[in-house]
Every structure is written in C-alpha cells, then in structure tokens.
Amino acid sequence: MKTLELTIDDKPVTVEEGTSVFDAARLHGIAIPVLCHAQNERPIGVCRVCTVDCGDKVLQASCVRPAENGMKVFTASDKVKKHRRMILELLLSDHPSPCARQRVSGDCELETQAAAEGIVAPRFSKRVSPRGQDDSSLVISVDHEACILCDRCIRGCDEIRQNNVLGRGGKGYNAGIAFDLNRPMGNSSCVSCGECMVSCPTGALTNKSVVRTVLPGGDPVGVEELKTLPFFQKVSGTFLDLNKNAVIRRHFKAGEVICREGDYGSTAFYILEGEVEVFLSSMSSKKETAKEAPSLFEMFAHVFSPKKKPGSPAQNGGNIPIDSVVDLSLDNPVARLGQGDIFGEMTCMNLYPRSATVRAKTDCVMLEMLRNVLDVIQRNKTLRAEIEKNYRKRALEDHLRTVSVFSSLSPEFIENLSRRVELVRYSRGEVLCRQGETARYFFLVRIGFVKMVEEHAGGDLVLAYQGKGGHFGEIGLILRGTYAFTVTALDNVEVVRIDAEAFQEMLAGFPDIAFNLKKVATERELHNQRHSAAVSAMSLEKFLGQGLMEANSLLVIDLEKCTRCDQCVRACSDAHEGVTRLVREGLRFDKYLVPTSCRHCRDPLCMIGCPVGAIRRRNSLETVIEDWCVGCGLCARNCPFGNITMHAVPETGAPKAALAKRKATSCDLCQNLPEPSCVYACPHDAAKRVDPNDFFRDLISPSIDSGPFAAPDVPHGGRR
C-alpha cells in the first residue's frame, strides 16, 4: 500500500493512500467537528461542518476529501472556523432548541457544537412552514423539525441494516427524511429495529417512552429466552432489549377467563402451551338468530352485512367474525385455539374492543405482548410467512365460508385456492383498489375496516363500510372489467386477495357461486345507481348541513300538527321493554322536527369498528343492532347524531358466561310490527318515517337544478 505524506495544521502526518483527510487527522489526534459523519457509516459530506482548507479554490468536506501527497491541510484556521460557525448557525436557526434529545440527555450534537461555538441566537429568521412531527410509530418518535438531514439514519436503515425503508424525500429546502412512500413511520414497512434512532445526532428520532410500559401480572421473559422461540428468533435483539417489558409470560388455570368480550385492550396473546376456547357470552344463552325471511333483498343486504348467510336460516346460521384465526358459527359460537395460535391481533393493532371472551380450556401458558412487539412480528417477512401459513391452513376455509356466496365451495377447491391467495396488509388511508382501474383481484377483508367510495365529478359518495368478512371486486371481475368503486383502508387492514384467474376458475367450477356472485354484483350495481341518482339531485345547503341527505329513513314530526302529547315516546318505550329509543328533541328543518332517532344513514359511520359486527344492515338499508352486541359503546360514540344509546341489561346469571352489562340500542323501525309504533301511536298524524330525499323534494327543489352539487363530505366535515 502506497503511503502519503502531508501536513495537517502544520503537523507532518503519514497515512495510507485512500485515507480521507478526516481520518488522517483523527489518526493523528486532531478532531475535526462533524455532524453527518459517523465512523460506522460511509461518508457523504453533506453537513459541511467538517470543512477544512486543503489549499483548493474552495474549502473541502474532510470526510470525503481523499488525502494527497504534499497536501497542506488546515482544520481550524480563522477562515475554516468562520465558515463552520456559519453552517452551525444556519442549522440552528431552523432547529427547535432544545430538541427532545437535548431536553432528555443534553447531548444533541448540533446544539452542543453550536454552544461550543458560542452561538446563542442565530441571526437568521426561523423556518416559516412547519415540517411537523410523526408520532405514528410505537417505538420511535419522529420530529422532522429537529432533523438536519445528515442522512445518518438513512445510511443506518438502508446500508447498515439493509432494511431499505428510509430515504430522502422532497427537494431543496423542502427535503426531509421519508419512510417508504413518505408514509407515517408507523404505517411504513419499518421493522422498528432502532438503527435510525441510534444514528440520529439530534432529537429528530428518539425512543418513545411507551416501550417502558410494564405489563402487569406476568413473569418477565428474557431476551435470550425469547430468542429461543421460533416466533422471536428473527426479531432484532436490540429491539427486544429496548422493549423488554412489552412481552410477558402468563399462566392460566383451566377455566380461567383470559380476556372478556367488549373489554378494551391493547395486547395480543400467543399460546405457548395448552388450549383455549373462544365464545361470545351474549350468544351462549340464545343460539337462535333473528328470524329473517329470505327475500329478493337477501343478496343485496349481504352487501352491507356479509356475515349473514342467505337462504333458509335453518340451513346455516352463518358466522360471527372475531379477532382470531377462526370465526364463530352462529349455530355453535365456540371455537378452540391451541399451541402456536395468536389471538387478539385486531384489538392489539387497532385498539378495538375485544370481540370475544377467551377462556382457558386446559392449563395454559401464554405470551402476552404489546402492540409494538406484535407490530414488529407482523412486519418480519419470515414470521409473516408463518402467520400466513397458519392462516391458510386453519382459517381460509372458515373465512371463505363466512361469505355466504362461497358456502358451496368444495373442500378440494378451497385446498387449491388456499395455495393461490395472498394475505395483503394495508395501512390507514391506503387504496386497495381504485374506481376505473382494471379489476385484477377479488378481496375478502380479514382484519380492519375499509370504506367503499364511488367517485363522482361533484365529490365522493360513501357506499359502505366493510369489516371482517366483507368482500368486493366482483362487479369489476364479473360485470365491468374495471373496479366500480374505490376502496380505502380505514385502519390497519388485512385482506385475502384472490387473483382474477383463480376467481374465474372458481366461477367456472361452481355455477351456483357464479350465479350468486353475479346477482350480488348486479344488485350492488343497481343499488349504486339509485343511490348516486338520489344523492346527486340534492343541493340545499341546510339540508346538506344537517346531514339529512345521508339518511335513508328519517323520523320527522310536523310541528304544526304536533301537540307535544309524547304518545310517540311512550309507544316506543312500550315496544322496547321499557327503554325508549326516541327522544322528542333535535334539529329543525322547515316546520319539521327531526328527533334523535336512528336515520339509517347511507354512510353508517356507526358500523365502523364494531368488534363483532353486531351493528349491521340485515335485509334492507336499515341499520340494526343484533343481540350479540358486546356493549363496548363504539357505535354510540361514532354516531354523529347521538342516536345510539347505551343502556344496562339485567344479568341472567347463566353459568360460566361472562355477560355484557350494557348494550347499544337504536331505533329498529319496530321490525316485527307493520309500522313503527311511534308513527302508529301518533294521534295527530304528525310523526312520519320518510325518505328525506323524496319527502323534502319540494322544499329543496328550487335549488335542485342550480349550483353544483356539494360533496357529501360537507356534512361529514361539519359533524365530526
């Protein structure tokens, strides 16, 4: 190896060829200040703090300047120090001082160096447009304001760890670090290895305190022990160490309840030993479902509530989706899980209430884990493949059968299909399929909720929300060739995706499925057309402002006829075991009172997130709450009109059953009566159930033809 001789600050030094000036100085005890360079990373020379005078026309970043024979380097001349100071001053002018790191440990590298240079108040004005914070990761908090774009995290992620998540986005003064397609960190493919965080010189990437959360009531599990479990082998040791308390081991005696339906939780369970049973206590006493006559609307209703099996109820009770690899049958809502199974993923990832009660069938040992750990496991390719394999083996058949139209698939075909489907994850806001694009997949929702939207020139129209068991893509694959609507993930969504080829094979091999799917597709298509026709005719601001056009069925009271006798409220109470679902108060529109009573919205926000799919549409556009409501109250909080109330239910004392202590109720339009009792009871013909778009047509008609149709998201925006 050739050696080079040069002087640094008048000190003669000898180094091997290829050594940078920075290293040449370092090897001879001269420390050059730097921000963007770390010894374990490839130098890139972007911060320019390590700038030195090598006798060239301009100064050079020493970390990237190769040393040369006879070079005379000055690392701390007045000229060098002046420019280094200016660079620190520029950086500090946009830096939120003290940043998170400076506050906690006092060692933000920028602030330390700036202080050493005596820079207190930068002379430049601060950045005007904020760059923001990103709190979406469970482990790392991102403060873009504190970022100095040294790219150390980027090299840590892409070159050291080779995780390939982090890069630079934007350009010029608007450049910043970006995860994947500039997603929030928590929604990106980041595996939370922590390398970016340990690489960051400032408070831009810091460890979150959530990792210090201690799960109560279990035994701590050492990193080494965890690493012996196949499930954790691939997880970064640094990560497990940082998250020591986020996984614990728990023992359950046979018969002990592990989690209860309706409870809020934030953990998932991994069964190490033993067997558990999963059931809905609210269903255990009444296995009979509501009596529904099959109708023309059957398939159509299924669109909105796919959990229900069309055809004779006696033939098959359908399934209740729960947060597990299996679903519960309506006929026999108990399932078993054993060693190696995970449950509670959805509660853990999306913080939904528990969808079912889980009880130890035998003595059990479990690992209970927080969201950050589950998240890392789900992001790991190998572990993900495990989960997927397990899912294919155990759950696909169940899952396909939940979707009524597939109930006739032969086991062989499911076997064949299971090798050809993929499990795909989408994060909040991500588009699963876009209206007008070539239909290539059929989708079945496994975890989370999606929103189906039809895009119109005047705005978007929400057609439905779908949770576990929901499906879409068939209109595109069967009728149009292109997707009929845009489907977006509302939270962390996982779907089973069947490609067009397998789907067509299925249609060819199972004519009854083909027939049913075509029917569903046609019904959906028809419904959509009616739906959008009705909506696109509306325009009155107030009408929209009150969200009335969103309603399918609206209780209105003509205030000119009403004598305030309260017969309607009494009738409602009588019809519903003494609990009224109607309060004679509310917004006014023209001479009508719109009391707080379910409007059976076109865009039923209440349905988002129901952990057991109890709030649903049964055989029409009406929204009902089924008996298996676990009382979590999510729908009541979601309803923008306050039309769902929570009320206590008496305990029945059935053995072993954990009971819901309260349930949600909402107007069911008196399902079993020919007419809603409030309307029937009104002696003055003041109360009416109407379709607002027809009923108010005259009131709003003057403006029907004038002005562009305001997008339905106007009332949304106002309400939420």
């Binding site: 320019r48 970043a61 950045r127 774009l149 986005g169 450049a175």
Partner: protein, 570 residues
Amino acid sequence: MLFDDMREIQHRFGYLPPDQMLELSKKQEIPLYKINGVAEFYPEFRLTPPAQAVVEVCTDMACHLRGADTLCSDLEQKFAKMGKRAVEIHRRSCLGQCDSAPALTLNEVVFRNVSTELAETHIQAKLANIDLPVPAFEHQPVTLLADPYRVRNGESVPERYSALRALVASRDFDGVITTLKDAGLGGMGGAGFPTSIKWDVVKKARGDEKYLVCNADESEPGTIKDRFIMTHLPHLVIEGMIVGALVCGAKKGFLYIRHEYKEQEAILRAEIDQCRRDGLLGESILGTDLSFHLDIFVSPGGYICGEGSAQLEAIEGKRAEPRNKPPNSATVGLWGKPTALNNVETFANVPQILANGVAWFKAQGRDGAAGLKFIGVSGDVQRPGAFEIPMGIPVSEAILGLAGGPAPGRTVKAFSPSGAASGFIPFDKFRDTHLDFKSMRAAGTMLGSGAIVVVDDSRCILDMTLNAIIFFRNESCGKCVPCRVGSQKLVDILVGWTRGKGAPSDLQLVADLAETMEQTSICGLGQFVPYPITTAFKHFREEIDAHVLHKNCPAGVCPIASARAQGQAV
C-alpha cells in the same frame, strides 16, 4: 429504466398512485424509498391526480420581465373559484423559452408569448374537453457559419459526417485531441475547461467500460442557445458525440435532454435513427470494429440536472444530487466508470474544427478570440432570440445590434451575461467588453452559458437579483447545508429588503453568508446562489443601500415603493 416505468404509470393514471408505485417496487425490486425519493424530487412526476387543466407559469428572469407574475395572478384570480380539481395554477422554473416570454405549460404543452386572454381561452377549452391547436412556433430556416456541411454557392459541399468518416478511416484519435488542443476549444456549458484535456483523461483511464454524455439539459434562465443548436444543427451534435466516443473509447452514450424540449428531442431522435441506418452508430460503425451506442435520456426535470455529476446520478435513476469532487467524472463517472461529459455546443464545435481546420476556427473569432459562439439575448430588447456570433464581439453589438436594443425611449441599464448565475452588471461599464471567456473573466464577470438578459432603466436591480436567487432556492437539490438552508435564508432577507424590513446589519450578514455558500457548497449551484447579490453589491451598491438603509426602491418596482406611494409607514 426506472424513470420510463414511472412515466408510463403517470401516462396511464395522470399521476403516480401509491399502489402502482408499490407494484413497480415489487416488479423492479427497487425499495419504495428510492421510488419515493425520485418521485418527490423531479418536477415531472406528480403524486396527486392532476386537475383538468394544469397550468405552470414560468416566472424567471425574461418571463418575470415580460409580466409573468401578473399573468399568473390574473389566472389564479380568474380560476380560483373553479376548484383544485378543475384548474391548478403553479409557478415553475425557466422553460427555456426566454426569447418568447412569457411562457407557460398547459397540461405539459409549452405555450410561448402568452397573454392572459390566450391562456384563458386554452384553459377554458381544456375544461370543455375541446382540443384547440397549440399556436405553432415557426422556425425560420437559417444558414449558419458553424455548419461545415451547409449548402454554399458554387462550392462543393462536403457530405454530412465527413469528419467522422475521415476519423474512422484514419483512426488518428490522438490527432483529434491535438487538434482540439490547438484550436483551444473549451467547455461551452460555461466553465470553459479545455475539451482536449478532459477527453485525454477519459481516453487514458484504465478499463474498457467508459461512457460519453451530452449535457442538453439547459435550464438556466436566459439560456436558449442549446435549443437553437439542437434545432438547427442536430447533425453536428451527434457527429461530435460519435467522434468523442471514438476518441475516448466509450461504447455507450447518452444525450441528456430536458423533458420540456420535446421538439428538439424529436429532431435528435430522427437524426440518431438516420445515423443508425447509415451505419454511423451502433455495433459496427461503417463496417469496422468500432462501436458506439447512443440513446436519448429524457430528464425528469430540474436545473440541478445540468450539474455534471448530478446528471450522472439522474441517469443512474437516482435523485440528481451532485457528488463530492474529487474524483471528477472523467475518472469516476457514470456507474463509477470514466465518463466524458460535454455540453451540446462543445460537441457541435468538434466537427467544425475537424472539417474546417484549426486555422479556419481561429479566424472566426475577433480580437484574438477563436471560433463561433451561440448566445441568447432576452429581456428588455426588441428582438430577443438566439444568435450565432463570432467569439469576441463587444457586448453592445449583441444587445443593441443583434437584439435590437431596448424599447424606444428606454436605455439599457444593466445585463446579466450568463443568466441567473452572473448577476447584473452595468451596461455602460461593460458595453465594450468582448464576449469571450477570457475577456469577460478579465473584466471581473463571466461569459458562462452566453445567456444575456437585458434590463432597461425602468427595472430594479434588487428585484431582479431576488428573482435570480429565488430561482436557485427553488432549484437547490437540498443535499448540502449551505445551499439548502443558505439559499432560503438569503431569500428571506432579500424579500425583507424589498418590503422595507432591512436592517443595516443585514448587509454584513449577507456578505458573510455569501462567502460561506461559495466556499462550502458541494457544487456550482450552491456556490453561485449568492453571486447575483454580491455582484449587485459590487456594481449597484447605492441601489441596494437605498432599499436597506433608506427603505426606498429608486426604480419604484419593489413592494416598498407602492407602500411609500400610499403613504404607509414602512
């Protein structure tokens, strides 16, 4: 090629939908962050669905002088109520149409000499889905001295590509380097670095894999000469490239052209196709064992792509961020291999010198300068355009003679000899300076890319300076701190001055910041950001002081002037 795949997606959807990028990432096995990095970096790519009419108005230098800001705000006002899904109006960087300013693009199509009415008509047509013909841009046929193959009365016309044919026959590649050295040909992109040395380094570099790149990304405000050369002399550019490739031993080359130059791209593609048919390009040139494969690389946009090493990064499918030098691209260039990178005009000069000889070349210049030069003259002149001049003519001859001088009743106040980078210098002081690299440097300025932008006596130097620095701020890639942060802080301070918010201490701060940016930025862009203001300090100090110290805009252009006129406190 990544950019081609992204273009294809954008062509289908109008933008880059995330799911498509996801699929592309899987298909090409390119990490998402890399796709996002370039999608967000290059102005050609969109991440949101476009409106029915997307209008991008150039507001740099010549367009700024010709009322682009008013045009833009007029359009914004007229179409504000239509909503974002109908009409989008943005400001954008120079389109290279400085001789027909103001210019804008409507759904990617360039419009020149735009009036508000014209723009409005075409936007309305887009909204109504009517296809209006784009006003055509007529090229006058020109006879250029620079073309050794031009038709001459009575003289026998050498066949095009004769210089190349002779070289293939003689294989005297060292002779080419000697000839270029004797002619004194320097880089015409602006730096004037001797071409013979550059080619010699690449030729002597070890390894078989070498590249040759033609920089046709001219994006600096005022620079329109390469567009002119590519329109009228495409055969010289291609011939120069093939000669260069043979001399340097490059088997593969790219002509890097900005995506807004669609017309020139088509002309060059036709020329390249013709060469392939004639056996001048490809595997076996004129039946010999020599080969050279040449492709056009369409830039996804951005002034920074004109910086040599950034251009190579772009060709490699990355963000166009300049590399730290040394090493230079002649030794470590495209994909780490030795690369000869020259400007359009440099390549066009090579066949001239080879066909006509060094003596002819030297005789073309005036007063000791050699060769011909292509320049653009725009701004406050009556006949803006691109011109072929003998190297070394006085400034006044170009501005007053060729370009027709200022409007009647106006005088020329100042001019910028090299677009945004050179800053404005007083015409009276430099009117007799010769337009060649050496004379201009000696006079304390630069010839650069030959982009003369003229301002008359009604203009404010601070306003023009700020306009130039805003251009650099917008075009900074953001890689290094002094340029990324410094350019924004400089804009902040100068905007303050135009609004009467200057403090005396600002003057020193700007001088200090300018020095740091010049000394510590990675590339020429960052080093030149403060040049317009330091030039203004040098030549128009009183006018700057009037803004900063006396809160007055002598030309009555800056916001501070209208505030004064209305009697507001400033």
